[in-house]
């Protein structure tokens, strides 16, 4: 039997259904791969016993000719999703050995559809970071290396574990979340496909909150179609999340392979930032050319408030985070330190429990919401947010989707930007706008830089128009012919 871990999700599902191999077989193969890849630090918790039990149950259903859309497929779960009876940490010391008594809606739906959980995936602490270096478990190592170098590179963040595990065949696909680019940037850095759907498409219930108005779950997968299959299971209205949208879930995979002829593709001029590497410029030009070849019409559009997006994002997200993270107070669960006075417990628990980046954002968020500063920062940022959404609305007058690079660079080395928060925040420059406007954004691998590292293109669509993104991504995937895998060194 060939290496089952190399299969795409789609191929694996077909093989499982045809009984070419069992769920236990493919699950075991992944468990072994995970054991051998511990050097990547992608998983913070492996759950092989649970995985094999779930796989065996799937096999029974498959044997009866039953089974859901993901029956028997082993997946990795970002450790921001609460999983019932399984330690859930958000990669923070402050949650300690927290074991939820509940299962997030998104993972509940995956299990409903027959998926198998391999374990919990590493991430930046509370999803705050772009390199996975803020994790309390230490950084994930990108399976990709620069040619001729064995320097450890970041897989990006915050969903670095999800991206690295998918790229290194340590799961068929993974769940991830995206607040400012946390699905798309790691996907771009690891040669995988990631989509942040429309805000409200996936329930946030049971996902540890970072910035409630920006957080969205989505998949990281090996192919566009795999991402579409995953997203269908993850999506759906949830009465437990007031911001979840009461809309039907389309069969996203059915859009992959559809003709894109006649679609108008906007190229936003403001995304052509100074100092962008020529390789990224070329990648973008290639993408434009491929879509043109596929029959798309290319239009230049303007999103004039783009330059304010990053500053606005770094006000809104920390503001919400400062409030969302107030519950980690040492009182009910997680780390409790200090004493005997109440103030001591608060101060020590939070000082010891939170890492530097989380503290930085709590401080920024507390500051921008403070009396006397609220109007100048938070309120102003909300106005910018409205303008950014208006920019997109304006753009949709002349185009059906936007094409941009996903990130301004390829994966960088661990430690390279960790002393410079601003440089780190710039990673999100092309991705935050969609979070601020609540729009879907998809990243797919479309080329490699001179050092052989994968580079991603981003497609941005109208609200709830993920279908068009999947069609366009399918066309780009075909044209780009990106099939490279990281050479196995681990």
């Amino acid at each position: 039997m060939s290496d089952l871990t190399k299969l795409t999700l789609k191929a694996a599902l077909a093989g499982l259904k045809a009984r070419d191999f069992s769920s236990v077989d493919i699950t075991k193969a992944h468990i072994e791969a995970i054991e051998q890849a511990r050097g990547l630090n992608a998983y913070v918790l492996e759950t092989p016993d649970r995985a094999l039990a779930m796989a065996a149950a799937s096999d029974e259903r498959l044997a009866r000719g039953e089974g859901g859309a993901l029956e028997g497929a082993p997946l990795g779960i970002k450790d921001l999703f609460c999983t019932e009876g399984v330690r859930s940490t958000a990669a923070s010391k402050i949650l300690g050995n927290f074991v939820p008594a509940y299962e997030s809606t998104v993972t509940t739906q995956l299990w409903r559809d027959g998926a198998v959980m391999l374990g919990k995936l590493n991430l930046d602490e509370f999803a705050m970071g772009s390199s996975n270096e803020t994790s309390a478990f230490g950084p994930v190592i990108n399976p990709w290396r620069r040619s001729g170098s064995d320097a450890a590179l970041t897989p990006g963040g915050s969903s670095g574990g999800s991206a690295a595990a998918t790229a290194a065949d340590l799961c068929l696909a993974a769940t991830a979340t995206d607040t400012g680019g946390s699905i798309r940037q790691p996907a771009s850095f690891t040669g995988t496909v990631g989509i942040k759907p429309t805000y409200g498409r996936c329930s946030r219930w049971g996902i540890v909150a970072f910035a409630s108005s920006l957080d969205q779950a989505g998949p990281i997968a090996k192919t566009v179609e795999d991402a579409a299959i995953m997203l269908r299971s993850m999506s759906g209205h949830d009465v437990k999340d007031s911001t979840s949208l009461p809309v039907e879930v389309p069969d996203f995979a059915s859009y992959v392979g559809k003709s894109v002829k006649g679609l108008r593709i906007g190229v936003p001029k403001e995304y052509r930032i100074p100092g962008m590497p020529a390789e990224i410029e070329k990648l973008w030009a290639d993408g434009i050319a491929w879509l043109k070849d596929a029959g798309c019409e290319i239009v230049e559009v303007s999103l004039p408030h783009t330059k304010y997006a990053l500053p606005a994002y770094y006000i809104v997200a920390p503001a919400e985070a400062s409030s969302n993270l107030a519950r980690y107070d040492g009182m009910r669960y997680g780390l409790r330190a200090g004493g005997p006075s109440l103030t001591d417990v608060y101060e020590e628990s939070r000082a010891q429990g939170f890492g530097e980046e989380v503290k930085r954002r709590i401080l920024i968020g507390t500051y921008v919401l403070s009396a006397g500063y609220y109007d100048a920062y938070y309120l102003k940022a909300q106005k910018v947010r409205r303008r950014i959404a208006d920019d997109f609305d304006q753009a949709w007058q002349s185009c059906d989707a936007l094409l941009t690079p996903t990130t301004p660079s390829a994966a960088f080395a661990l430690g390279e930007q960790s002393d410079d928060p601003i440089a780190m925040y710039l990673n999100d420059i092309f991705t935050v706008t969609t979070n601020l406007a609540g729009l879907p954004g998809l990243s797919l691998p479309a080329g490699r830089d001179a050092q052989g590292l994968p580079l991603g293109l981003q497609l941005i669509g109208r609200a709830l128009d993920e279908g068009t993104l999947f069609s366009l991504a399918g066309a780009l995937e075909k044209a780009a012919g990106f099939t490279a895998k990281a050479d196995r060194w681990w």
Partner: protein, 486 residues
């Protein structure tokens, strides 16, 4: 009441108290404002806590439609503007009985805007209190400090329970007015079923803003007295606080804006925190919740289903039943009383029924610490008693005796009259016999009565005594007049 009498005389002249109240009323609801956890009194510690109430990671609030409806009802009952678009904000502060680290409240855009309440003083005069706003918010849990010398215990049963905060304008000028206002709000909320008004359980409590000024001067600096939960405490707290402020000002000092606590055992207020120590709550719109948008048709349907409220009911009682303003006020102060009254008054002399209900029944109930719900006498028996009087079967005097037997549970009015032989004597023969006997025994009085007709009363009294109060007074009078030749 004249305006002057509300002023407080200080050493250096008169002062005026200015009062504004924030009433916190627990919304009558089976479940909490943002969770499905039960709301109720008497559950064991932490037995009524949903995951979101305990602020478990990733848990999200979902608005309880019933609580929204209750707030709309309350707003309509306060003649207030219903805001079809409102929003929830987070009020951020750390405390162990506040698991989220923030309270979900409405800061900028409350569900209910300005309204007006007409309030009655004890002397029957009325005044108007403006309502600034009503908003929905979560209650916190309870910290219990006296269970253990070293630890504080936290009970989250109350955490997340829905409160309505009703903010008044600074329209009250005495502690009596403040108490009357709270009573009025409580009555309205109870009529609407929006809050049970149980102050002992803390389901209705008030923060009182107190300032003093020279009559006609600008508003003074206010102090806020937190969480006062009885009419008496509200009055005591205001009286103490006003005196305190006046003394400071008369000594040449100034008032510092601060939050104070009322100590009911020492009957004084104490500083809790100054303005400088005040929290910066960092309010911002709660991103977990969508703005609350109300359908005007839904609001209208709530409006259409409102019960008759105390003010219109009182007016109706005055016109329909011819009741005095006072009696009508007493009867409508409580929905159950008003219902009791209307049931008893049906087809009867309505004023007489009001007299018996207000003066006898409610009086007796109050002496025993009860109200209409605990009445041992049902409305049909009050009606029966009044019917006996109307029919001349018993006199008003005997009726009191009958009432005592009814109170003691000895039967319906008819049964009591039968059992104790309290039927009024209308048989003229019996009355005549009694009169003849008394006249024969008191020839001097007979002579005197012929001279002074006012002495008739003495004979009436004698006859009543002779007949055990059962003689019909009208018949006695008539026959006496004839016999005495008056």
């Amino acid at each position: 009441m004249s305006e002057k009498s509300k002023l407080i005389q200080g050493r250096t002249g008169p002062w005026e108290i200015v009062l504004g109240l924030e009433i916190h009323a627990q919304v009558a609801s089976n479940s909490k404002l943002f969770s499905g956890a039960a709301v109720g009194f008497g559950a064991g510690p932490n037995e009524q806590v949903a995951l979101v109430d305990a602020a478990m990671p990733g848990m999200l609030p979902v608005i309880n439609r019933h609580c929204v409806e209750q707030a709309v009802r309350a707003g309509l009952g306060l003649n207030a503007q219903i805001n079809l678009w409102s929003r929830f904000d987070r009020k951020n502060y750390f405390y162990p009985d506040l698991p989220q680290g923030y309270q979900i409240s409405q800061f900028k855009d409350p569900i209910v805007g300005e309204g007006i309440v007409e309030v009655e003083r004890d002397d029957g005069t009325t005044f108007i209190v403006g309502v600034e706003r009503l908003h929905l918010e979560q209650d916190a849990g309870k910290s219990i400090h006296d269970l253990d010398p070293n630890f504080t215990y936290v009970d989250l049963n109350r955490a997340g329970t829905a409160l309505m905060e009703i903010v008044s304008k600074p329209d009250m000028r005495s502690s009596d007015e403040a108490a009357s206002y709270v009573k009025k709000i409580r009555t309205i909320l109870r009529y609407l079923g929006a809050c049970d008004g149980d102050m002992e359980k803390g389901n209705l409590r008030a923060d009182v803003n107190v300032s003093v000024r020279r009559p006609g001067a600008e508003l003074g600096t206010r102090c806020e007295i937190k969480n006062v939960n009885s009419y008496r405490y509200i009055q005591q707290a205001i009286e103490y606080e006003a005196r305190r402020q006046i003394e400071i000002l008369e000594d040449g000092g100034s008032i510092h804006q601060e939050t104070r606590l009322f100590d009911p055992t020492k009957i004084e207020t104490r500083s809790m925190r100054s303005k400088e120590e005040a929290h910066d709550y960092r309010y911002f719109p709660d991103p977990d919740l969508l703005p609350l948008v109300l359908d005007p048709a839904w609001v209208q349907s709530i409006k259409d289903s409102l019960p008759e409220l105390p003010d219109p009911k009182r007016k109706r009682f005055e016109s329909q039943y011819g009741l005095s303003h006072y009696d009508a006020g007493v009867l409508v102060a409580d929905q159950a009383r008003a219902a009791f009254y209307e049931q008893a008054a049906a087809g009867r002399d309505a004023k007489l029924v009001a007299n018996w209900t207000v003066n006898n029944l409610l009086g007796r109930l109050a002496e025993n610490g009860g109200d209409i719900e605990t009445s041992p006498i049902p409305p049909e028996d009050i009606a029966g008693l009044v019917k006996l009087i109307e029919d001349g079967v018993i006199s008003s005097k005997i009726a009191k005796e009958v009432f005592d037997h009814m109170w003691a549970g000895e039967g319906t009015p008819a049964q009591v009259v039968e059992k104790f032989g309290l039927v009024q004597i209308t048989d003229t023969g019996a009355i005549e016999a009694s009169i003849d006997k008394i006249m024969a025994a008191n020839p001097d009085k007979v002579e005197a009565a012929k001279e002074r007709p006012q002495a008739l009363g003495w004979f009436v009294g004698q006859v009543m005594r002779d007949t055990g109060g059962k003689a019909n007074p009208a018949a006695v009078n008539e026959i006496l007049k004839v016999k005495l030749g008056l």
